[in-house]
Symmetry: C2
Subunit: 192 residues, 2 copies
DNA sequence: TCCGGTTTGGAATGGTCGGTCCAGACAAGA
DNA sequence: TCTTGTCTGGACCGACCATTCCAAACCGGA
């Protein structure tokens, strides 16, 4: 069995993820990907399939990273802080100059979810997972007294998700940390 | 001066707007536009300029329609209802089957605003205008007793904007009216 | 009826798209 | 050292991209 793989599949996939994240699906050409992944065309198609399959792999990889991020917050912070950290993770990445990439999943929600059922399923699943995370944190917070007892779990979790998605839109159009911080503060007020 | 214009410029621009709205900038080809506008290539370039200029015209046209819509709500409804109507306008357009187009401005915010300063300016301006509209309605509502007196104007207006943008993301990824209605209800709770 | 200037449909342009292909580079086992 | 089968680089493919161009169609005024 001569000559095994010549490049790191996951590292190259991460490069592709960065490219799709920054520019979107349609605006990223296969030539862009060949250049930025450092993998030649032939190997790229042999390893990942066509452009759409590569995009799906990148999206699933991003989704796993998101899942790990939430699990980390849940393990290391109080329920209330675990919620706040999600907002802050996206607000902190906003650079002083120039627009940020926002959230790859949300960018994809608007570009592709409406026309591609398979992608919509992944995006909707991720959003439902974040919603469930919020609900879980609210329940834990109510149990520990960290969050007011009269807060309605499901309704508030949905409201927080909407506020978060709003932040993820504004990150791309009005990358102003003080604006985003104010929205986070308003969103967190629901927990009082 | 023989032979004036052969087609309705605004009607054709509306057709282009529909196409860009449904599929986005990159995924809409000039051939698509020639087909759906019913205007041939030459006239199209002569009248609107290149693809980006046509897109900008469509975006500005959409922005004017949005402005008219808000002005109508403001004139015809109580402050609280004028806020609710904005949410409902987007929730109602969700079809029973298949995804909806959401808000053209928000779709554009995620696809293009991060990389195109001119487009970012239009998008950010529209978002600021909606925010100002919410603030104005809150102030009017507080004055008339329609909205609780202890509501903070600027913070709440921003929070409402974020919730609205969240709805405009979910409209494309989870087009479920009951979910969107619940988020609207949660957003409106800020005014109690 | 014919003329003038505009608009029209569609051919043509050069470039880039996603995707395929293959001759040769390569490393492990013989 | 030679065989073997995989992987590499880049040429290549037809299709489609945005854009330009022009001859023919057209209609109001003379």
């Amino acid at each position: 069995m001569p000559w095994e793989k010549q490049f790191d599949k996951q590292a190259a996939l991460d490069k592709a993820l960065q490219a799709f994240w920054a520019r979107g699906y349609e605006a990223t050409s296969m030539q862009d990907l060949v250049d930025c992944m450092g993998v030649n065309r032939g190997s790229l198609y042999a390893t990942y399939g066509d452009k759409r399959a590569l995009f799906l792999s990148a999206l699933r990889s991003y989704d796993q990273a998101r899942r790990r991020m939430l699990a980390g917050f849940e393990a290391r912070h109080s329920p209330r802080d675990a919620i706040r950290r999600v907002f802050q993770a996206f607000i902190e990445q906003v650079p002083e100059k120039g627009g940020s990439r926002g959230c790859f999943m949300t960018n994809t929600a608007l570009e592709l979810a409406a026309h591609d059922p398979e992608i919509r399923k992944i995006v909707a699943g991720a959003q439902e997972d974040v919603e469930a995370y919020f609900a879980r944190m609210i329940r834990k917070g109510k149990a520990s007294g960290d969050i007011a007892a009269d807060v309605k779990v499901a309704e508030t979790a949905r409201g927080l998700l909407a506020s978060l998605l709003g932040v993820l839109v504004l990150v791309r159009s009005r990358p102003d940390k003080s604006l985003l911080q104010a929205i986070m503060t308003d969103a967190m007020r629901r927990l009082h």
